[in-house]
């Protein structure tokens, strides 16, 4: 952890730079959302990738996760795995690949 004076002084510059990057990235997200990509899902994907990058920056730099104790990583890893499970299974329960057409509703007439 950046506990000594020099390290903190050095990191102050980085805090400002990262803040600037985050604001620019937010602008980029807004702009990209108005660009008509081939499908809207692609828009969502791009937007979410940008958001994830921003979130990672906040977590690593502002929240000092770039030099944290292993214990914190373990707790967070466990949490993130569970959150991913939550997302993934929710999506799968909606769009189960093993459901054959006509399982829930009659097959649409061609």
């Amino acid at each position: 952890m950046a506990d000594n004076v020099e390290a903190i002084q050095k990191s102050i510059k980085w805090y400002l730079i990262i803040g600037g990057i985050l604001i620019l990235a937010s602008g980029a997200t807004v702009w990209l959302s108005f660009v008509e990509l081939p499908t809207h899902s692609l828009n969502i994907l791009v937007g979410m990738i940008l958001a994830t990058i921003k979130a990672t920056l906040v977590a690593l730099i502002f929240m000092h996760l770039n030099h944290e104790r292993s214990l914190i990583y373990k707790i967070l890893l466990f949490t993130v795995v569970l959150a991913v499970v939550l997302f993934a299974l929710f999506i799968f329960s909606h769009e189960d690949p093993l459901v054959f057409p006509g399982f829930y509703a009659p097959v649409e007439q061609q």
Partner: protein, 487 residues
């Protein structure tokens, strides 16, 4: 008593207590917002209506994003300044953080406020009309001479509460009422309370008298019974009498001194027919239904739910009429043509943006535009949130919708659809976190001066922990902003 490791880290874990605590709390928060985001995914994937995209005010949202990022920078700066023992800079950074939180919440309140007065109405053919209800929506009754209220004997879900439920719905002066006692007096909390008390007492006495009578009868029968079967039956009857617990409801009629007009909110009534109106406290009034039409100032026609959009019920001659229909078609065809020109290879039906631009027609004037001008509004394709139009000086065409033509209406609140429901839940909970975080930081700034002088290291720990929470709030917003405002 001192708990160890509150200030300095434990050597083998390298952490002080509060830091473990806050990270655990944040892990729990990840699951809280994780649950909410997965609900968002679930609702969006399963939505059976076009999911609103760019419906909110993107500018305001972007400003809030910048504000929150800036506050995130300042809070970490505050911590760093405290570590470097630059107390003045610490105070400045902390103050900016708290001010940023204030700005954020102010913007949020602007955003919310506009939505409460903006309405959407679903017509029977699936068209959604958006706009404002200048007078609200009321079911109007006339010629009501008496209130027929039901005072529940026991503790019931529906119990007469005319003062809070019925009286606010009266249009014009509230007359005096003739009470069952024969006196004519005002109906207010005090007089009704008395009436309620007396009625309940009478009902309870009636119940007791009835129970006593039943017991006496049963005892008489029991005394007269001789055969085992008769005794068994009589004992059963006695048990029923002893357990008799039905305290009767009392119907009371309050006669009004002069006929009353009602204009009732739909949320305050159970239902109505041409002649009767039932309030949610069980009060029934008899009169004549005069008006249940809805007067709507239309600022948008969303025909995405209609098979043939130009034949939407909104363009019926009673409502918007032919001229607006023409403007709608022109706008629609213009957008389709532009899309075909820009993206010749793409499937028109699969572009949500095109669907929205072509079929969700925004109205900014009270009269239909001259030919060829319908698409002149350059906001058309942009994030011009209808919710923000209110009070910006526009005039709108007014339609009077008949009850049979619309099935559902709501202001832009959680009731409107699942998008607004999750929008309000997510941003509302996020807002609560902002407020809570700001209060904690404000406490450090305003009331922790002693610690600042005596034990800055401890305060630095506290600021770090508060800051971690604050960054998390920022982090959530980083996902909220694109998901709700942009995508």
């Amino acid at each position: 008593m001192d708990i160890p490791y509150t200030v300095h880290a434990r050597p083998d874990t390298g952490l002080y207590n509060a830091k473990i605590g806050i990270w655990l709390f944040l892990a729990s928060e990840v699951m809280l917002f994780g649950g909410l985001f997965s609900a968002y995914i679930f609702l969006r994937v399963g939505a059976d209506y076009p999911w609103p995209v760019h419906d909110l005010d993107v500018t305001l949202g972007f400003i809030n994003t910048v504000v929150l990022i800036a506050s995130s920078v300042t809070v970490v700066m505050a911590w760093a300044m405290l570590k470097l023992r630059k107390f003045a800079w610490y105070r400045i950074n902390m103050a900016i953080t708290v001010i940023c939180a204030g700005v954020f919440m102010f913007n949020k309140s602007l955003e919310y406020k506009a939505k409460f007065s903006h309405y959407a109405v679903k017509l029977t053919d699936g068209t959604m009309l958006t706009g404002h209800l200048p007078n609200g929506y009321h079911v109007k009754f006339d010629g009501v001479k008496e209130l027929s209220i039901t005072i529940a004997g026991g503790n019931k879900a529906v119990d007469a509460d005319p003062v809070d439920v019925v009286l606010p719905a009266i249009e014009g002066d509230v007359p005096k009422f003739k009470f069952p006692s024969g006196t004519e007096q005002e109906l207010n909390a005090a007089t009704f309370g008395e009436l309620q008390k007396a009625t309940r007492k009478a009902a309870y006495e009636a119940y007791q008298a009835k129970r006593d009578g039943m017991i006496a009868d049963a005892e008489k029968v029991l005394a007269a019974a001789t055969t085992p079967h008769a005794i068994y039956e009589a004992e059963k009857r006695l048990a029923i009498a002893r357990n008799y617990n039905v305290i009767p409801d009392t119907k009371i009629t309050l006669v009004a001194a002069s006929p009353i007009k009602f204009a009732a909110n739909t949320s305050d009534i159970f239902g109505y027919t041409d002649t009767t109106l039932t309030f949610c406290d069980g009060t029934i009034v008899t009169g004549k239904l005069t008006d249940d039409k809805m007067t709507l100032q239309v600022d948008g026609v969303d025909a995405r739910g209609v098979a043939q959009s130009e034949k939407s019920l909104a363009f019926d001659h009673r409502y918007l009429g032919d001229a607006w229909q023409k403007a709608f078609v022109e706008n629609r065809d213009h957008h389709i043509a532009t899309f075909e020109h820009d993206y010749p290879t793409r499937d028109k039906t699969r572009s949500a943006t095109l669907q929205k631009d072509s079929l969700f027609f925004k109205i900014h004037t009270s009269t239909p535009p001259a030919e060829g001008k319908a698409h002149g509004d350059k906001h058309g394709a942009e994030a011009h949130a209808p919710a923000e139009n209110h009070g910006s000086g526009h005039d709108y065409p007014t339609v009077v919708l008949e009850k049979k033509d619309f099935t559902f209406f709501s202001n832009f609140t959680p009731k409107l659809n699942t998008y607004y429901a999750i929008y309000f839940t997510l941003t509302g909970l996020h807002g609560l976190h902002v407020v809570a975080g700001a209060l904690v930081l404000l406490y450090f700034l305003a009331f922790d001066g002693k610690r600042l002088r005596q034990d800055p290291e401890h305060l630095a720990n506290r600021v770090e922990v508060g800051g971690l929470f604050w960054h998390f709030v920022d982090l959530v917003w980083i996902f909220l902003f694109p998901l709700l405002y942009l995508l």
